[in-house]
Amino acid sequence: MLSQSARATAAEEARYRVDYPNATPRRIRIIALDRSAEGVVRRLARGAWNGASFMTAVRGEAAPDWLGSLAGDALNLLEQISAADAVVTVSTAGESAEDVAIIAEVCHSRRIMLTALVIDPDALPDAQLLRTVTPLRACASMLVVAKGEEYVEAMLTALRA
């Protein structure tokens, strides 16, 4: 007689897996931390996503707030992060990522997972990379240094963002 495991793991049994959405889309905030990363986030925002919202923490004279929409409107940092299931920051190697600290503080207080992605296409020397990753390392629960911006899309797709 077949064991339960032998019977259950047969190839033909795969078609009996329950066909039902086993999770609802996660609300993920994707926040650019520098100008170049903002360009990446803008390109990604044109795609079709389930629960992803794209924004920027790059501040200028016209947008002095901590967080802004890609259209230039001010966003309330607390409200945005509180409404998220996960937060992903996007940075460019060599650029400052100090602004992550305030985002991380809110994430930690709300018990929201913070993932930091650093795009390092030129494989910068360690000293320059450190400028970016040191503040991120202090805050993020997951830090990824990727060579190309296409990884941001791959990761968000994998997370069903």
């Binding site: 077949l2 064991s3 339960q4 495991s5 032998a6 259950a8 793991t9 047969a10 190839a11 049994e13 795969a14 897996r17 086993n22 999770a23 996960a86 992903v88 997972m113 993932t115 360690d126 990379l129 450190l130 990753v133 040191t134 390392r137 202090a138 993020a140 629960s141 997951m142 830090l143 990824v144 240094v145 990727a146 060579k147 296409e150 990884y151 791959a154 990761m155 797709t157 994998a158 997370l159 069903r160």
Partner: protein, 427 residues
Amino acid sequence: MLRREQNDLLTQTGPGTPGGALFRSYWIPALLSEELPENECPPVRVKLLSERLLAFRDTQGRYGLIDEFCAHRGVSLWFGRNEENGLRCPYHGWKYDVTGQCLEVPSEPAESTFCQRVKLKSYPLVERGGILWTYMGDPARQPPLPEFEFALVPPAHRFVAKRIQESNWLQALEGGIDSSHVSWLHRGELNSDPLFKGSKGNQYNLDDARPVFEVVESPGGLYIGVRRNAENGNYYWRITPWVMPSFTMIPPRGDHPVHGHFWIPIDDHNCWTWSFDYHVRRALTETEVQAMRDGKSIYVQFVPGTFRPLANKDNDYLIDRPAQKAGRTYSGVWGIAMQDASLQESMGPIVDRTKENLVSTDNGIIMARHRMLKAIKGLEAGAAPPGVETAHHRVRSAAVVLAPDQPFIDGAKDALAVREGVAHATV
């Protein structure tokens, strides 16, 4: 989550498939050297990348890996007679050499050259580090032999074994680079397994239940770093290298030998789990080797005469529910290797990744898939994939304590490279 077509690309490795072309870019382990222990020994059936092959060692000690079936009537040459520099089909006497070249067709006239026009598909088979390696790709693009450190240390410093895993290779690989499962599934073994227990690193593991992860691309694949708190504000790092397509090493613990794996597709529903242990500075002790033979650590006990684990799906992995309830093993399955394999096989032969819900700590898996999909695309455009160059093989795992402001890729740079005669960096 992967789209169905992406899942197919990564999980299908038969002839003519893009994923198969990727695997056919590398030297891959085919069988243990001890499976062909002497000249003219019995041939061994080998299925790799969905191709039925036969390995044999001829009168002069040359190794061959050829199509399993006689070109005449399709008889399995496993029944063949290994004699006088060739393998002779017992049905009608056709004889082949290690390159698959037919040497004799006895029914033809003595002067006939017919046999010269008969040649079975064959692949090179080369011994290194207790393993017979093969390359199943385009001969014009055959890379140099692999230079993984474990395969180059003296034989007494090394132990190699293989077992059948009844799942697609990718499920097994993804378990190998999923550092976050160790604190759950294997928590009972950290302080009890003879090849794991006793290291200071285990205490860091158990004291900090909220590890932080970092994933960094390397030329040949990835480094996956897991950080836990150590004394004086420092961090304890465990760093796992992955070299494409399927080589990983577990970070060391104390002075124990270092463990590692390859996962090689047999077909799309089964793979070989290759496991190795080695120590750079010393021979393995009798006690260590005995523990490996007894199925401790990353090894298993076998159904006698086979490479099938004794605990397998036909006996529900000998699951011990009272031990699970009492917390003696977290899943109820005994042994690190079968704890992994039982869960990976439970997903079915090829898990439907369109249904999964990955989380941020799965970034090692996400990045590995991303790099393989990219490599498949690059290969179609003629680019050699990462992991082919022997320089990519010369990596190590490491367990180190670093200052908080030091990135592991910088602070452990030396520790992650092969240094002749220098032991692994370990805590």
